[in-house]
Symmetry: C2
Amino acid sequence: MKKLFVIKIGGNIVDDAVALDSFLQKFTTIDAPKILIHGGGKVATSIGKKLGIEPNYVNGRRITDAETIDLVTMVYGGLINKQIVAALQAINCSAIGLTGADANIIPAVKRPVKEIDYGFVGDINSSQLAVDSLQLFLSNNLVPVFAPLTHDNKGQLLNTNADTIASSLAVALSKLYDVRLIYCFEKKGVLENVGDENSVISLINKEKYQQLLQDKKLADGILPKIENAFAAINTGVQEVLIGDANDLLQNTTDNTVGTLIKA
Amino acid sequence: MKKLFVIKIGGNIVDDAVALDSFLQKFTTIDAPKILIHGGGKVATSIGKKLGIEPNYVNGRRITDAETIDLVTMVYGGLINKQIVAALQAINCSAIGLTGADANIIPAVKRPVKEIDYGFVGDINSSQLAVDSLQLFLSNNLVPVFAPLTHDNKGQLLNTNADTIASSLAVALSKLYDVRLIYCFEKKGVLENVGDENSVISLINKEKYQQLLQDKKLADGILPKIENAFAAINTGVQEVLIGDANDLLQNTTDNTVGTLIKA
């Protein structure tokens, strides 16, 4: 099967013009089909503040109320997404900016209200992704760039975590491609010792994961990423890499940087 | 050649939820390839005001400064565009929201500074449009929905009039399709007598246009639309219709409503 790279970047790259430029330069050099998923970043918060939209928390969890879904639709789906697309076009990478509503690629279900009403948050079922449209774009040398937005097929846009979108796309496409899912983040990889930047764990398999959980070595921020990674691995994705964008894209066939997650 | 509908809607529809819903319902019933182009609307102005972005005029002409291009990228390219896409998906129309930067469909040139520096405004050359990508989408039953944004191929997004985008798309596609370009606006058509809503001119050809110009019967607002229409007609578009959205989409093969512009 043909190799496909599904790469997710977050606020540490999106918010930093120099880091973003450096990332996009390296991203374009990947000589294979590829998909980029970007997170939000601080710009949404700062624009929200100017618009008088206060972050709304219930029991410590951020809620996507009606004002907030409009805000993220503007900032993620418009400003950040189209700026990345324009920047990629400038370096001869024919990007196409998308949300999950476009071509109905990522239908979702508004999260059911249990203890918390998360508001306009969408949960995805990977089996329902429109793989045909994605393949149409990829096979015509278009590079999909996804904002972290989905929709409910009833006209409502929904906020969906970018890591989850990345893993769902990776899973859905693993039937057609040999998928490498890459989570870029602010550390060199998953750290054995949170205080030591050089304690990167080079490989996490299921046993190692259980051991890390038992030893309570996984910081709050990394836990959902690893859960997403294993969800992807368990449903068809070949391998997941977590680490620093510069390192990981320096040599996309090299497994000696970052943390590799495999079954 | 196959029929293609290129339909532009402006603020009178985009700003009015009921009118927009009614328009989109009719739009989906067009049983032929179709492209929608939407303008901006008042929501950009009201969000701009909240963000402290004052409209910037030089010699009475609106300037797209750096703050404003970010604003319209958010509001046109994000909020309005993706809400229309989600609304179309809900009625089984597989829309794909685009700017001119996406798939490099509409490259533009930043308007050269002469008497006025218009700022981040893009001028289009129809011959440079990426017709291949458009045809790829159309032939796969995807319905392109364009925000009025282009880019300069150097990473900068640009503001381009939605009427101009519509006519440029119509011209570029007239080599492959029998194109009907439809400008929806707030009147029933071009009026012989500006004060009389029932004085719709049913047909404007070149002679009639010259006569209307001589008689100074064309209001300021309609003049650029007719200029765009004739620019399209002169470069390959079969016909242009101007009028009320509800009338024009009621029966898309009927020429008895609105104003038909033909060579």
